[in-house]
Every structure is written in structure tokens, then in C-alpha cells.
């Protein structure tokens, strides 16, 4: 893999994030707005919801919306991808650039949510080292969003369709894999939703109780499922998506 080429591609992806209004809003402003609104709404103890649960959920919200931006971006850039494929750039370099740039975005999102929540009264019980664990966890989880975005783009005929279909992956993760209350039946569904494990792991990190088997179980699930999803996404997109 040529790191010079990879660097150039990551640079373009990050510029897209900043300069493209939809990407800028969905990736950076939306998590910020969501954090402010949720922190105002749920910081009242009378509502019975712990801020310690809300903050991990907000991080999950931010990262799962990457599915939409990835799907939209791949669908609208199909002609550009065709053109890029006539250069010496390899598909591995291209996919790696997508993964790296989305991991960077996920870390920025985590930082935004955490900083705003902290400014609004959120106080994690973990040490700094413990909190730092949230970074690799979130970055690895971003792989699943890239993978699901690729799958969505593969089956979408245009960017609008990609945005719509992305909610098939976003909504279950929002409702079954965050701080929304679960019944005994929805708890079963939640076990099949990747965000459920990130939410749980982040909660353990912020509570300072991550040195246990539950955390490492979450971590193992997040890593293996995210890698699997991104591999499936790449395979499907390579075979059918760039047509």
C-alpha cells in the first residue's frame, strides 16, 4: 500500500467532511446539537434517566449516522470512483482511505459529544486512562458504519435512495442499541444490533467499571462484528456497487 496515495485520499475525504454542507451538518453539527438538546432535556434527575447513560448513547447516535453519509457519498461518487479506477490507485488504498477518514470522524464526534456533555455537567467516574479507551472502541465501531454504508450504497440506484435506505440500519441501532428502554422481547433483538455493545462498553468506561469480563466481551463483539460487516460491505460494493 502506498502511504503517499493513501494520505492524498484521506485528505480529500476530510475536506469533503468540512466543505460539504450535508456532511458537515450530519457528522459534526448534528452530534453537537443532539448533545446540547439531550443534556438540557435529561439532566433533570426527576426524569429518571442518568446522564451517564445518555452520553454513551449520543456517541452511538453520532457514529451510526456515518452509515448515511458513507452511503450517500459512495452513491454520488460512482462516476468519480470509475475515474479513480483508471489511475494506479488500488482498491485497497481507496477503501483504507474511507475507513481511516471515517475513524477520524468518529473520534472527532466522540470528542465533541464528550466535551459538550462535560461542559454541561457530565462527570464520568473513570480515570483519564479509562476514558481514553473510548477512542479505539468508537473508531473500531466506525468500521461497521462504513460497512453498512457500503452495503446501502451497493443496493441504491442513486444518492437519495441511499439516504432513505440507510435508515434501515440506523433506526434499529438507535432504538435497540442505545439508552431507549428495552422490554424483554426487544432485549433479544438488541443482542443482534452492533450499537448495543458499543453503548454498553462506553457506559462501563464512563462508569469506571471496565476492568471486567462484560467490557472485554463487548469489545470482542464490537471488533469481530465491525470487521465482518466492513469485509462484507467491501466485497458487495466491489462486485456490484461500482456499476
Amino acid at each position: 500500500m502506498n502511504s503517499y496515495v493513501l494520505g492524498a485520499l484521506v485528505n480529500v475525504e476530510l475536506k469533503k467532511l468540512i466543505r460539504h454542507p450535508v456532511n458537515l451538518f450530519m457528522n459534526l453539527l448534528f452530534p453537537a446539537l443532539l448533545t446540547i438538546v439531550f443534556m438540557f432535556t435529561f439532566s433533570d434527575p426527576e426524569l429518571g434517566m442518568s446522564i451517564n447513560s445518555v452520553v454513551p448513547g449520543l456517541v452511538v447516535y453520532a457514529v451510526i449516522f456515518l452509515i448515511m453519509t458513507v452511503a450517500q457519498s459512495f452513491s454520488s461518487d460512482k462516476k468519480l470512483l470509475r475515474r479513480l479506477s483508471t489511475t494506479p490507485m488500488t482498491s485497497t488504498e481507496f477503501i483504507s482511505s474511507q475507513i481511516i477518514s471515517n475513524m477520524i470522524v468518529a473520534i472527532v464526534q466522540l470528542t465533541i459529544v464528550f466535551t459538550l456533555a462535560y461542559l454541561m455537567g457530565f462527570r464520568p467516574e473513570s480515570s483519564f486512562g479509562g476514558i481514553a479507551l473510548a477512542l479505539p472502541l468508537t473508531a473500531i465501531f466506525a468500521l461497521s458504519s462504513v460497512g453498512l454504508g457500503l452495503i446501502t450504497s451497493t443496493v441504491s440506484k442513486n444518492p437519495e435512495m441511499a439516504v432513505g435506505l440507510s435508515f434501515l440500519f440506523i433506526l434499529p441501532q438507535m432504538f435497540f442499541g442505545t439508552f431507549m428502554p428495552l422490554s424483554s422481547s426487544t432485549e433479544v433483538i438488541a443482542k443482534f444490533v452492533p450499537s448495543y455493545y458499543l453503548f454498553d462498553a462506553l457506559k462501563l468506561v464512563f462508569e469506571g467499571s471496565w476492568m471486567n469480563s462484560a467490557f472485554f466481551y463487548d469489545m470482542a463483539i464490537i471488533s469481530s462484528v465491525s470487521v465482518l460487516i466492513v469485509i462484507i460491505g467491501i466485497a458487495l460494493f466491489k462486485k456490484y456497487g461500482s456499476r
Partner: protein, 312 residues
């Protein structure tokens, strides 16, 4: 006297100019435009030296240009029930400007898409500079530049950033990219707009940027798919002059176009395809003579018009 020398020098192509400079022990940077070289040389040489050089260079050119750099054999491409290319056989010579002409849907773009590795052929093969396009695509991609029919640029990047990306994908240094980009932006009149985002460009400007991105790697072979379509007459003329100037850079240019008059003026040879088959091949002069008409457009209408009538 200097203007006489200059006018003689203007008749030489870039390779000939560089050879002349070499004999005078003048180092010419690769990125210098032909005009700069002419001005420098005109101060340094005598008329007879140009004539001597021209004779030598022409002999070398004739010898090397006969070798084919692109060989297409029995190429076929089917899309479900439609045969886009039907047993195409063609050789394109090194250093020539070859125009692929044909009516809409004749198979021109599909042919270019196969040659550039975007599409896989159903049958047959294409070899570029000794590399099979289907089997050694990575080697082929190092030596080609592709200007697609539709202007495909990143709208949120400015012209320089778009060009820089494509230069970097070919592993060119920032310095190399900047030098080459500056020259091409200037020649195509995009310098002033180079810091503006491509999303705000007019159609003509996008096409010019599209072309520069294809040529930033100084490719051995450039595939230009209707590079001037949608441009106004002035921009088109400017772009054709630019494409014409590439002929002197020892580059093989394969282009498709609907502007037959310009193809006639610029092309060394033209191939006319229809229904995915090569139906005529030769220099514009040869074809005009063969069909006993006044220009290439009449040749084109003669051939493709007859085919249309046969189809009715």
C-alpha cells in the same frame, strides 16, 4: 532574421525542439512550453541547423511511429442482449493522434472503457505498450491518462486540489504537480479560477479541468473521450490547440469526438466505427481521396449514412 528563425522553429514539434536544444547543449526543463523553447532557441541557432535537425528528427519519427502501441484483437463487449463492440480489430501507432469517430452508440466509449480498464471485454483482448489490459491493468494504469466523457471532478475541491489529487495518485511529487499544473492551467486559461471550487465552474471550465486532470501524469497514452463536447466555439478552439500541442510531446493520443472538422485537422489517422465494428481506417487525406469527397465529414456521412439507410 530572428523572426525567420522563429517561424521555422514553430514548424517543429516539441521533440524536435528538444533535440535541437540538446545539440546546442542547452538544458530545457521538462515543463517549459514550446513557445519558451522557441524564444530561447531563436537566440542561439542558425537557420541551417534547424533544417539539418528537422531532417534527422523526421527520419527517427517515421521509424519509431510505425510501431503499434495499442493492439486490439477481435474485441467484443456484450451488455445482456446488446453487442456494443463486435469483433473490433485495430492498431494504434506510437506517437500518433488517433481519432475514433462514429455515430452515437457506435461503441466508441465502450472501446475506451475497455482500454482503460473500466470494463472487461466479453471476448478478445487489448494490449497497451506490451501489457494485456485485462491481465496487467496495474501496469497499464501507470502509463495512461483518461479524460472521461462527463466532467468528473470533486466539486468541493478547487481546480488545483483536483489536479493535485490525480497527480498524487500517480505518485508525482507536489513540486512536479505544481509545475505541470501551472503550465496547463495557463494554456487552457484556467489560472485565475484555479483557487475556486469546481462546483462553481461553468461546463466549459469543468471540461478543461477534466482534461488537465487526465494529463497531469504526463501519460504516454492519453484517452480523451469527447473532450470538447459542450464547450463554446472559443473554448473548443483553445482546447483543440492545446490537444494539438501534445502531439509534439511523443504522446499517443486516442480521442473520440463528434467535431469531425477538428478531428480532420488534428488527427494523424482516424478510425470510423459503427455497430461496434471498425468500418474505415486511414489518414484523413486517404479517406477523403478514397471516397472522392471534399472533407472528412462527408466521408463520415457517406459511411454512417449508408449504414443508417441499410438499417431502415
Amino acid at each position: 532574421m530572428t523572426s525567420d528563425i522563429e517561424s521555422m522553429l514553430k514548424k517543429l514539434n516539441r521533440k524536435e525542439l528538444l533535440e535541437l536544444a540538446h545539440t546546442k547543449k542547452i538544458n530545457i526543463p521538462k515543463n517549459w512550453s514550446a513557445q519558451f523553447i522557441i524564444e530561447l532557441l531563436s537566440l542561439n541557432i542558425e537557420v541551417e541547423e534547424i533544417q539539418k535537425s528537422k531532417t534527422k528528427s523526421t527520419k527517427i519519427k517515421e521509424k519509431t511511429e510505425m510501431a503499434p502501441i495499442i493492439v486490439i484483437e477481435d474485441l467484443q463487449k456484450k451488455f445482456e442482449n446488446v453487442t456494443a463492440i463486435d469483433g473490433l480489430n485495430l492498431e494504434i501507432r506510437k506517437g500518433e493522434l488517433f481519432s475514433l469517430l462514429g455515430p452515437n452508440g457506435a461503441g466508441k466509449t465502450t472501446t475506451l472503457n475497455i482500454l482503460t480498464g473500466i470494463l472487461q471485454p466479453t471476448k478478445g483482448n487489448a494490449v497497451i505498450d506490451g501489457f494485456d489490459v485485462a491481465k496487467n491493468a496495474s501496469e497499464v494504469k501507470k502509463i495512461i491518462g483518461v479524460c472521461p466523457q462527463e466532467a468528473t471532478v470533486y466539486s468541493f475541491l478547487n481546480a488545483k486540489e483536483n489536479i493535485e489529487l490525480f497527480g498524487k495518485l500517480h505518485s508525482l511529487s507536489r513540486n512536479q504537480i505544481e509545475k505541470r499544473a501551472d503550465i496547463m492551467l495557463k494554456l487552457l486559461g484556467l489560472t485565475d479560477a484555479s483557487q475556486r471550487r469546481a462546483g462553481g465552474y461553468s461546463g466549459g471550465m469543468l471540461r478543461k479541468l477534466n482534461l488537465i486532470m487526465a494529463l497531469i501524469n504526463d501519460p504516454k497514452i492519453a484517452f480523451l473521450d469527447e473532450p470538447t463536447v459542450g464547450m463554446d466555439a472559443r473554448a473548443r478552439r483553445n482546447t483543440w490547440e492545446f490537444i494539438g500541442s501534445l502531439k509534439g510531446e511523443d504522446k499517443t493520443i486516442v480521442l473520440t469526438t463528434h467535431y469531425i472538422e477538428e478531428a480532420e485537422a488534428l488527427s494523424d489517422r482516424v478510425g470510423i466505427i459503427d455497430y461496434g465494428k471498425l468500418i474505415e481506417l486511414g489518414t484523413p487525406e486517404e479517406l477523403i481521396e478514397k471516397y472522392g469527397v471534399n472533407n472528412l465529414e462527408q466521408v463520415f456521412l457517406n459511411i454512417t449514412g449508408r449504414r443508417i439507410m441499410e438499417g431502415l
